[in-house]
C-alpha cells in the first residue's frame, strides 16, 4: 500500500516512516505542512495519508481541515490523524463528514507498533480507527444518551467497535467468545433501533449514532 505522511516534527516523521516501511508500506512523500500534504496527495493519490493535526502555520487544527479536504476531493485516499492530545471536537468534525476511511489516534499509539500498523491498514482499507480517548470524549458529550439503555458489557463492546475492532478483535480484548460478542452486538443494534440491513453498514451507524456525530 502507498502512503504519504504530513508531520512537522522531523524526529517523529522519521519514526512513523520507519514503522510504516517496516510494515511494508511504500512511502510516496513526506511533508511538513498541510499545503504540502494536499500537493502530495494530488500528485501521488496514495491509499492513506497519515497526518499530524497541529502543523504550521497556525499550529491548531490544520491537519483536520486538510483531512476533510482530502476525504472530499480524493475519496480513495484514507486519512489517519495523529495528535498529541485527541480533541473530541476534531473527531466530531472528521466523523460528521466521513463514516469510513478515517482514523484519529494519539501519537503515542505509534509506539505500539503492531497495533498501529494494524490500524493504518484498517483505515487504508476503508475502515475506521478511533483512539479509546476519542471514544471516551465523545461519550462525555452525549447528554441524553442511548447509553443508559445498554448494559456495561454492551457499552464496552460498543466502545471497542467504535475504535474500529472486528468481532474477533473485540472478543480477544474482552476475553469472551466471538459468538458472545455477536450476541451483544445484536442486542446493541436492537437497543439503538437500527434496522436489519447490511451488517457492516449497521455497525458503522451504531457507532456513529452512539458517538452522537450522525443522526440516523
Amino acid at each position: 500500500m502507498r502512503a504519504v505522511i504530513a508531520e512537522d516534527s522531523l524526529l517523529l516523521r522519521i519514526g512513523v516512516v520507519k514503522v510504516l516501511e517496516a510494515a511494508g508500506f511504500e512511502m510516496c512523500a513526506q511533508v511538513a505542512d498541510a499545503e504540502g500534504l494536499l500537493a502530495a496527495v494530488e500528485e501521488h493519490r496514495p491509499d492513506i495519508a497519515v497526518v499530524d493535526v497541529r502543523m504550521p502555520p497556525g499550529f491548531t487544527d490544520e491537519g483536520v481541515r486538510a483531512a476533510l479536504v482530502i476525504r472530499r476531493q480524493y475519496p480513495r485516499t484514507a486519512v489517519l490523524l495523529l495528535s498529541q492530545y485527541v480533541e473530541e471536537r476534531y473527531a466530531a468534525d472528521l466523523l460528521a463528514a466521513n463514516t469510513s476511511g478515517v482514523g484519529y489516534l494519539l501519537k503515542q499509539r505509534v509506539a505500539d507498533v503492531e497495533e498501529f500498523t494494524e490500524a493504518v491498514r484498517r483505515v487504508a482499507a476503508g475502515g475506521t480507527a478511533l483512539d479509546p480517548q476519542v471514544v471516551a470524549q465523545l461519550l462525555v458529550r452525549r447528554h441524553s444518551d442511548p447509553l443508559d439503555r445498554l448494559t456495561p458489557r454492551e457499552r464496552e463492546v460498543l466502545e471497542l467497535m467504535a475504535g474500529g475492532r472486528s468481532n474477533s478483535g473485540v472478543a480477544a480484548e474482552l476475553v469472551v467468545s466471538e459468538s458472545a460478542v455477536a450476541k451483544h452486538i445484536n442486542s446493541i443494534f436492537t437497543k439503538l433501533d437500527l434496522p436489519k440491513a447490511d451488517a457492516d453498514h449497521r455497525r458503522v451507524l451504531a457507532v456513529l449514532r452512539f458517538l452522537g456525530v450522525a443522526t440516523a
Binding site: 524526529l11 514503522v19 480533541e87 471536537r89 507498533v113 480517548q133
Partner: protein, 423 residues
C-alpha cells in the same frame, strides 16, 4: 569626607536653574495680580452698597468676571510652568459627556473650576506678595553687591565725600553678597511653594488621582495577566514541539526495536519492554501536565471543546454543559478553563466522588461556572497547601471574579465562580 563632596553638600547647588526659577517667579507676578483689580472692584461695590443700597446690583459683576477670566488665567499658569519649570502641571480629568447638560453648566458644577478660582483669587495674591519680596531681595542683592560699580559710575559731584565711605561700601557689598547667597534659596523655596499650590489647586484632585491610579493599576494588572497567559502558551508550545515529540519518537523507536528484533535474549527483551512502557507512561504524564497549561483547542474552539477534553480524561463520569452564545475574552476563558480543570482534579483526588457536573453559562455580563460533585465534602478553602482551592480563589480574584465553595462534611461539594465578562 572628601572636600568636593562636602562642597557639594553644603551649598546644595542653589544656582542650578536659578535663572529659570527667578523667571518663573517674575512671570508669576502679573498672573497672580490679575485678579486683584477685580477684588478691589468687589470691595468697592460692597462698600458702595453699604452707603447706597442700590449699588448692590453691581456686586455680582466682579464675581462673574472672575469666573470668566479663571480659565484664561489657568491657561497662562500652565504655560508659565511648561515654559519655565521644565514640566507642565498635571491636568484634572475633563468631565465626560454625561447627560445632556450644557458644557458651561457642567463646568460650573465641577469642582475643578472652584479650585481654580480658589487658586487665582486667594492663593494668587498671597503668592504675589512673596514673589515681590523675593524679587526685591534679588534687586537689593544685585545693587548692594555691586555698590563699588555704582560709586565709580556716578558723576564725581554726586559722590559721597564722607571719609568713611569705603568702610560703609564694604559693609554694603558684604550685605549684598549675603543676599546673593540667600536669594537662590529663597527663590527655590518659593518655587516649591508655588508648584505645590498649583498642583493642589490646578491639578487633579485626590479623588481624581486615585481614580486614575485605579485605572492604571487595572490596566497594568490586565497586562500582567495577558503576559502570564502568553507565557503559559509559549511553554505549552515549546514542550509540544520539543520534549513531547522527542519522547514519542523514543517510544516509537523502542516499539520498533521490540517488534523487529526477534532473536533477542530474554533479558534484553525485558529491558526493552520496560523502557517502552516507561516511555509511554512519561508521555501520558507530560501530556496531562502540558494540557493543563493552556490547550491549543481552547484557543481554537473555545471552552466547550477544551472542557470536554478535560472531562473525558478523568476516571469518573463528568457531565459538561457549556452554554455560551459567544466566546468570552481569552483571559476569562483561560481562567474558567483553569478553574474547572483544577476543580475536577481536586474532585478526583480528594472527594471520593462517583460523578461530577460542570456547567458554564453566561448571565448578563457574568460568566457563571459551577462545578459540583457527589463526594464526601469537607473541602476547606483555608487548608494550607491542601486542596489548592486557595490558588483557584486567587486566580479568580485576579480578574475581579468571585469564588465560593460550599462543602459541608458528608458532601456534596459545589464550587461556584463568577467571572465578569464585558458584552
Amino acid at each position: 569626607m572628601q572636600l568636593t563632596t562636602w562642597l557639594r553638600l553644603v551649598p546644595g547647588r542653589p544656582f542650578r536653574r536659578v535663572g529659570h526659577r527667578t523667571a518663573l517667579v517674575a512671570a508669576g507676578l502679573p498672573l497672580h495680580l490679575a485678579v486683584v483689580p477685580l477684588w478691589l472692584w468687589l470691595l468697592g461695590t460692597m462698600a458702595a452698597s453699604v452707603r447706597a443700597p442700590g449699588a448692590v446690583a453691581v456686586t455680582p459683576l466682579p464675581v462673574l468676571l472672575t469666573l470668566v477670566v479663571t480659565p484664561l488665567l489657568t491657561v497662562g499658569q500652565r504655560r508659565r510652568y511648561r515654559a519655565l519649570a521644565g514640566k507642565g502641571l498635571p491636568r484634572p480629568a475633563v468631565p465626560g459627556p454625561g447627560r445632556n447638560w450644557k458644557p458651561a453648566v457642567r463646568r460650573l458644577t465641577g469642582r475643578a473650576l472652584w479650585r481654580q478660582v480658589c487658586y487665582h483669587a486667594v492663593a494668587g495674591p498671597l503668592l504675589a506678595v512673596l514673589d515681590l519680596a523675593v524679587l526685591a531681595v534679588w534687586a537689593a542683592a544685585l545693587v548692594a553687591a555691586s555698590i563699588y560699580v555704582w560709586i565709580w559710575a556716578l558723576p564725581p559731584q554726586w559722590r559721597i565725600t564722607d571719609l568713611g565711605y569705603t568702610t560703609q561700601a564694604a559693609c554694603i557689598t558684604a550685605g549684598g553678597l549675603a543676599l546673593l547667597f540667600l536669594g537662590p534659596r529663597l527663590t527655590g523655596a518659593l518655587v516649591r511653594l508655588e508648584t505645590r499650590a498649583a498642583e493642589v489647586l490646578l491639578g487633579p484632585s485626590r479623588t481624581e488621582k486615585l481614580a486614575r491610579r485605579v485605572a492604571d493599576l487595572a490596566e497594568s494588572r490586565a497586562g500582567v495577566l495577558d503576559a502570564a497567559d502568553a507565557e503559559r502558551r509559549r511553554i505549552e508550545r515549546d514542550l509540544h514541539d520539543g520534549a513531547q515529540q522527542r519522547l514519542v519518537s523514543l517510544a516509537v523507536n523502542l516499539g520498533l526495536a521490540r517488534a523487529t528484533l526477534g532473536d533477542l535474549p530474554e533479558d534484553a527483551r525485558k529491558v526493552i519492554d520496560e523502557a517502552h512502557r516507561e516511555a509511554k507512561e512519561a508521555i501520558a504524564e507530560l501530556n496531562n501536565l502540558v494540557r493543563g497549561l493552556h490547550p491549543a483547542v481552547l484557543e481554537d474552539r473555545g471552552l466547550d471543546a477544551a472542557l470536554s477534553g478535560v472531562a473525558a480524561r478523568l476516571p469518573i463520569p463528568v457531565r459538561v454543559a457549556v452554554d455560551l452564545p459567544q466566546r468570552p475574552s481569552p483571559t476569562v476563558e483561560a481562567v474558567a478553563y483553569f478553574v474547572v480543570s483544577e476543580a475536577l482534579t481536586n474532585v478526583v483526588k480528594h472527594a471520593q466522588a462517583t460523578r461530577a457536573d460542570v456547567t458554564v453559562e453566561r448571565i448578563g455580563e457574568t460568566l457563571l461556572v459551577v462545578v459540583a460533585d457527589d463526594g464526601a465534602g469537607g473541602a476547606d478553602l483555608a487548608a494550607a497547601g491542601g486542596t489548592g482551592l486557595a490558588g483557584l480563589a486567587k486566580r479568580v480574584a485576579s480578574v475581579d471574579g468571585t469564588f465560593s465553595c460550599r462543602s459541608p462534611a458528608g458532601g456534596p461539594t459545589v464550587i461556584t465562580v463568577e467571572l465578569p465578562c464585558a458584552p
